[in-house]
């Protein structure tokens, strides 16, 4: 369905864009229908940039991204609108995604005007109710102001906003990192339910536990390079790349305390990035970067 083919991103800075900085190196992966793929990495790993390129919020420097065989970067006008009917994003901060002056229902009216103006009222109401029910909210919620709702409810509204459009792919960028532990799991479970109904999700996160809970496949990014990718149980159960291992070692567990040496050990592999090398198939459904 979605193919990211050898994509790189170069940011230009300085006078006349003379300085170049390559932030994404040759990233290549695919998302199939009904699949949840997690992009996991630390800050600066380029995980958000990949998501933004898929949503066309930033351009692709090299390589191409295709959706159902169509090159995303060439879309314009009506075909771009058609793309956004199928692919939508939800971002980290739900509070800044809403205008605090207006009731939250306004977001849905805008969507209707932009994308679904051909629907009659009854059909629209039905679609809206279905989308809100899917995220566990009542239609009455649309009459509230953003400050009257919790972060989790706002985040669910934003997901409903995407669902109104019959989307097939959702790019979820750190959508639960700002939520409380108790509401987090509700949003995660919602993503799981949507996946069961056939929605594909690209889940961008720095939290390995969350990625592990929800995803079918994991992509580990380090400084814009994919170092390891594959089925969740392969990558997390049998990590091969030293970077993946150091990330997993640094995850705190509830029932297992780090030893004193582990806790006070300041030298982490995570600090050293290596470029070059290439991905090889360690075994089925599990790719690892090796350096020759």
């Amino acid at each position: 369905m979605l193919k990211v083919e050898n994509v790189s991103k170069v940011f230009r800075s300085g006078a006349f864009g003379g300085k170049k900085k390559r932030v994404i190196h040759d990233v290549d992966f695919e998302v199939k229908p009904g699949e949840v793929v997690s992009l996991i990495g630390e800050s600066g790993s380029g995980k958000t940039t990949v998501g933004r390129m898929i949503l066309r919020l930033t351009s692709v420097s090299e390589g191409r991204i295709t959706f159902d065989g169509e090159d995303v970067s060439t879309l314009k006008g009506a075909s771009l609108k058609a793309y956004y009917r199928r692919v939508q994003g939800v971002f980290q901060d739900p509070f800044s995604s809403f205008n605090p002056i207006f009731k939250v229902g306004r977001v849905f009216r805008t969507i209707r005007r932009e994308f679904l103006s051909d629907l009659d009222n009854a059909a629209w109401e039905e679609r809206l109710t279905n989308a809100l029910n899917a995220v566990g909210l009542e239609v009455a919620a649309l009459d509230k102001f953003p400050h009257q709702m919790s972060g989790g409810q706002l985040q669910r509204l934003l997901i409903a906003r995407a669902l109104v459009l019959d989307i097939r792919l959702l790019v979820a960028d750190e959508i639960i990192s700002m939520l409380d532990a108790s509401t987090r799991i509700d949003v995660l479970n919602l993503l799981g339910d949507l996946k069961r109904q056939g929605l594909s999700i690209i889940f961008v996160t720095h939290d390995l536990a969350l990625g592990n809970y929800i995803s079918d496949r994991i992509i580990i990014l380090q400084k814009g390079v994919i170092v390891e990718m594959g089925a969740t149980d392969r990558v997390f159960g049998d990590p091969q790349h030293p970077y993946t291992r150091s990330l997993l070692d640094a995850v705190p567990h509830l029932h297992e305390r780090w030893s004193e040496e582990e806790l006070k050990d300041l030298g982490l592999v995570a600090d050293t990035a290596r470029f070059g090398g290439h991905l090889i198939e360690h075994r089925e459904n599990h790719l690892v970067r090796v350096y020759s």
């Binding site: 987090r184 592990n212 705190p252 029932h255």
Partner: protein, 320 residues
């Protein structure tokens, strides 16, 4: 040693007083790292802030705070000054933005010390020694904050906050904005400084129970401005007695748990408004075990040595 008794702090708002801390009593022993956890709006940050400086909107209503047998004048901003930095210190929530971006870090620290009537030069060797303990070279003192990563800035602020060996350090969400690798370094730094005696006791405020399970000696759980449970870390993690603590722990996805195999439950509903908090147990509306007696407020009592709970059904839990 810190002792807090029946502390009440309200926020002044146009709609009335928000009772963010509604009668909180606990103590932290010397050498103890106490974790303080709960949902947003439960009063955990308010408690941390109240011990060092009341913001404009915060109003001291009652209660007493004793640190090393001296009563802290927390209601009096001026009188608190001699205690701040020397006796009580804080690493704020966004330490990364606490550093002045226009000053080199070394100079900023010197200015700060001078403002307290101290000489930067005399403390410089100690400062460099402590930075080295946390894996930072003296070079960072010649750098601007923008040149450091979030985790490095967090550690610089930690060294600075504890430079005068305060008795109590409050660490407010110090790991929340960091990646796993930096998070682990900062967590290690907290324990290291306690072990070396740079700080006698610590309150680590966070919503991340997994990190507390790594560093804290005891954990205190707050709910809607009140204490729900306090116990040694192992007890909280392995045998929590308050239904809220249980639900909170049960909603944590850990590496190894998959949605496909095990769907974790959330906690239904939202915490009550603290403008006019409900009577009785405040968790009652969301509690799966609530019964008639919960209309009365449960006392915060000890059910085992060092294990205090505010729940009418807590005894039954501890046995079962």
């Amino acid at each position: 040693m810190l002792a807090v008794s029946d502390l009440k702090i309200h926020y002044r708002t146009l709609a009335g007083a928000v009772k963010a801390l509604d009668g909180v009593s606990f103590s932290v022993a010397d050498g103890e790292i106490m974790g303080l956890a709960g949902e947003s709006g439960c009063g955990k940050s308010t408690l941390g802030k109240a011990l060092i400086r009341l913001e404009e909107r915060m109003q001291y209503v009652g209660g007493q705070v004793t640190l090393d047998d001296k009563v802290l004048p927390i209601a009096d901003d001026r009188a608190m000054n001699p205690y701040r930095f020397r006796e009580v210190s804080i690493v704020p929530q966004y330490a990364m933005s606490a550093l002045n971006p226009t000053r080199r870090i070394g100079r900023m620290i010197d200015e700060l010390l001078e403002a307290r009537g101290l000489k930067g030069a005399t403390l410089r060797p100690e400062l460099e020694r402590r930075l080295a303990i946390l894996g930072l070279t003296p070079d960072v003192l010649g750098m601007y904050p923008i040149e450091l990563s979030g985790g490095m800035k967090q550690r610089v602020v930690m060294v600075l906050s504890t430079l005068l060996d305060p008795s109590l350090l409050i660490a407010d969400e110090v790991t929340s904005a960091l990646d796993v690798a930096s998070q682990k370094k900062v967590a290690g730094a907290l324990v290291e400084f306690r072990d070396r005696g740079y700080v006698k006791s610590m309150i680590v405020v966070t919503h991340d129970l997994a990190i507390l399970a790594q560093v804290a000696d005891s954990i205190m759980i707050m709910y809607a401005g009140k204490l729900a449970e306090k116990a040694p870390t192992r007890t909280i993690v392995e045998a929590p007695a308050h239904p809220y603590t249980r639900l909170l722990l049960g909603s944590l996805p850990e590496v190894g748990i998959r949605f496909e195999e095990k769907r974790l439950p959330g906690i239904k509903g939202r915490p009550p408004s603290l403008l006019s908090p409900p009577t009785g147990c405040r968790f009652r509306d969301r509690c799966p075990l609530a019964f008639d007696k919960c209309a009365e407020e449960p006392p915060f009592i000890e059910i085992a040595p060092g294990h205090q709970v505010a729940c009418w059904k807590a005894d039954a839990h501890a046995e079962g």
